[in-house]
Amino acid sequence: MNTDAQLKRFVPSPARKPKSSDMTILRWIRSRCFNSIGNSILTVLVLGLAFYVIDYALNWAVFDAVWHAANRRECMDISPEGACWAGVIDWFNGLMYGRYPHEEQWRVNLGVILAVAWLLPLSCRSIAHRSLVLISWVGLYPFLGAWLFLGGAFGVETGLLHTVFTSLAAGFMVMIYLNWVLALLNRPSLTDLAYPLAARFTARQTHIYSLLIVWLVLAVISGAVLSQVALPPVAIERWGGLFLTLIIASFAITMSIPIGVLLALGRRSKLPVIHWLCLLIIELARAVPLITVLFMAVTLLPIFLPSDMELNKLSQVLCAVCLFSGAYMAENIRGGLQAIPRGQYEAAQTLGLGYWMTMLLIILPQALRLMIPNIMTSFISILKDTTLVSIIGLFDIMLMARNIANDKDWVGLHTEPLAMISILFFVLCYGMSQYSINLEKRLKVNR
């Protein structure tokens, strides 16, 4: 008989040594790539194919390529087999900015930098009213950007409404940055400073009023500063290149969400008129190709609008692309809405929330978060689809790339510009898709 003491003592058995020779790299390769005759042949074939493709591509694009030449003939003389990147480099400016005047291109750069800078405070968690930053980016930045890109004397050539909104946008941006700096310095923000002032006028919702006061003061100041500035006007017809592609894509992407939300809610509505109307719009827009919608916008809008109202081609295209991407987004969002359990609706009802509050506070945030992968896929396809505007004659990056082949110095230079913008689109789209996978993983961890 064992004693209790013996029983309770834990005697670990010595661990077995790992089989060191079990999975060396060579064995792993053998077990995966050469485990049968068929698989071995496949491996060799794939290796050969990969080698051939990479070898050919590298030789063409790097080793035999010409980087400096005056025209295509010179390229051909130096290296007939390789790529002629000289033409693309020569046209690089055109590919980026289209026919935007050379000396004004800093405005485009500034506009893009401002658009990114507007969103930077989102990364700072201590700043107040972070959701306002995103909303203002959608609602206010376009006015500032449009004035910057279009030019003209501030307040004179732009309309009154545009001037007001541009000042508001500039004021808002200044406010965000001042608040950010103050938050970094651990000082009370401007809004807090204006709080006693606002409290003197009204007792309710003083935070909002103090925000409004600061914003208006800053808007008036920045409006006054901007009114001293006169930028040479640039017609919309001269916009082009990657710049135009990004404008159309980002406009369609940002607009597709609110349009999609409205259409999706309408489609799930119990009111038959609204349900059928939204269903009709979604299904019609999704059943036809984008190019027909673009043609419709360009040829039919002038017929259906009053004869004295003239829209430029860009706004027609923007209308079409927004409708189209909104309809696709609506189906994504509908999927998200359907995935929200009934209990969430009932809980919101129990709390006494009305329809819009239920949707805005409870349902939509969850639905949008659930649908992030699909929404990102939609964004990527919108970005890719913007190349279609070249068919109806907008000078986006695609049409600029095709135009290089018509330049008298670079006649017939088709492949290299296309290869270059293919790489550009690949980097953009692949980056977006990897980011969305990353985002999805991160959100899953949080749950």
Binding site: T43, V46, L271, I274, A287, T292, T299, L300, S390, F426
Partner: protein, 410 residues
């Protein structure tokens, strides 16, 4: 007991019809009712839409009047007067706009049918290769899918058109295969049956033999079930079609005259050909579609439980048998809906061939015909109607098929 009755009374009160109030209170309670609010919102929406339609319509009427144009479909019967570079049905400039519409539809359908067929085949193969246990094969398939998916289709179409197909040598120095198939910078030439009648003989014979063989096979199957009670299918499926085809060829051969393309001066004469634009659009779209289909096939295959693989291994199935008998039949259920969507997109994407001048519907009807006649409203509604019809048809058929392959819920 008292508690219970109180509760009962409260419940009774709650379910009693609302007391009809009078005066202002009645009005506000009426306005606050959900049904009233819904009706008001719907009425306002309807009114807004009607006003919009009337407004747009009156604008259109005014603008058309100002430009001296009429609304109507009478232009369809007038002569088009322009040529179309390639059409499968007979066409010449003296024919009507209705014929132009038909040519566009046929060209669009031919292009998208080929894209769907080959895109599905290649996509299925690539999708299965992506799941290969051989890392080299899987990574190569992954590279293919990622590269193809992340470059806009339009760029790919133009790339194939300008960099590959238009760069082919001229007819005299073009590629040829056994004096029957020719590939050059004008297009792809191949032999075609000459004359309509002989070809229909062949087709008729094939259909006849195929039907007869199918009936015979069904009878044999029934006999087998009756005699042995064995429900296993006869393994003669392919044989039946093969025999029918051979018989039809033997019968039809006497009637078919093949027209073979041959060099004549600087060009090829005879046979049938597809233009370079078709080739570029076809290759680019097939590659693009196959990548999308590969992704849905992979997703479908990955949705199957690992236990199914293991069970199949346990009963001694080979890798190919597992795929054919266990995995694909189950994966089909998850693959069909995205596949249907992919096919729809393929038909819609065929409109991009307009960028390289392939005469499909958008190109011949929406571009050229609108320029010639100015009948934008009619033409655009016809083209959109066609696409809507096609997408409704495809989604209807695939929904039917989908309903058949899904699990039956009792």
């Amino acid at each position: 007991m008292a508690d219970y009755s109180t509760q009962q009374r409260v419940m009774n009160e709650a379910s009693a019809p609302p007391v009809r109030q009078r005066g202002w209170a009645g009005l506000t309670s009426f306005l606050n009712r959900d049904s009233t609010r819904g009706n008001v919102i719907q009425g306002l929406t309807l009114l807004f839409v009607l006003c919009l339609i009337v407004y747009l319509g009156s604008n259109a009427a005014y603008n058309l009047d100002r430009l001296g144009m009429m609304f109507g479909f009478d232009f369809l019967s007038s002569t088009s007067g322009f040529d179309i570079s390639w059409s499968l049905i007979p066409y010449d400039p003296s024919m009507t706009y209705w014929r132009v519409f038909m040519v566009g539809i046929v060209n669009t359908l031919v292009l998208s049918f080929n894209v769907i067929l080959f895109g599905t085949i290649i996509g299925t193969i690539v999708g299965i290769l992506r799941l290969s246990s051989n890392p080299l094969v899987a990574q190569l398939a992954r590279c293919y899918v990622e590269v193809v998916r992340n470059v806009p289709l339009l760029i790919q179409i133009i790339f194939w058109f300008t960099a590959v197909f238009s760069a082919l040598p001229p007819p005299r120095r073009g590629y040829m295969l056994g004096d029957l198939f020719f590939l050059n910078n004008r297009g792809f030439y191949f032999p075609s049956p000459q004359g309509d009648i002989s070809f229909f003989w062949f087709l008729g014979a094939f259909v006849l033999f195929a039907a007869a063989a199918w009936l015979l096979r069904r009878k044999a199957q029934q006999a087998r079930i009756n005699q042995t009670g064995n429900h296993k299918a006869l393994r003669t499926g392919w044989l039946v079609w093969g025999v029918a085809l051979v018989l039809a060829c033997v019968i039809g051969n006497g009637f078919i005259e093949w027209s073979v393309p041959a060099l004549d001066g600087f060009n090829l004469e005879g046979g049938q050909y597809v233009p370079v634009a078709f080739g570029a659009a076809f290759v680019a779209m097939t590659v693009y579609r196959s990548a999308a289909i590969a992704e849905s096939v992979r997703a479908g295959m990955e949705s199957i439980d690992r236990g199914q693989h293991e069970a199949a291994r346990t009963i001694g199935f080979s890798r190919f048998q597992t795929l054919r008998l266990i995995l694909i039949p189950q994966a089909i259920r998850a693959i069909i809906p995205p596949l249907a969507n992919s096919w729809l997109v393929a038909v819609k994407d065929s409109s991009l061939a307009v960028a390289i001048g392939f005469p499909e519907l958008v190109s011949v009807f929406m571009q050229t015909s609108i320029n010639q006649t100015g009948r934008a409203i009619e033409i655009i509604s016809m083209v959109m109607g066609f696409y809507i019809f096609v997408s409704l048809t495809i989604s209807y058929l695939l929904n039917k098929y989908n309903a058949r392959v899904q699990y039956k819920v009792m």
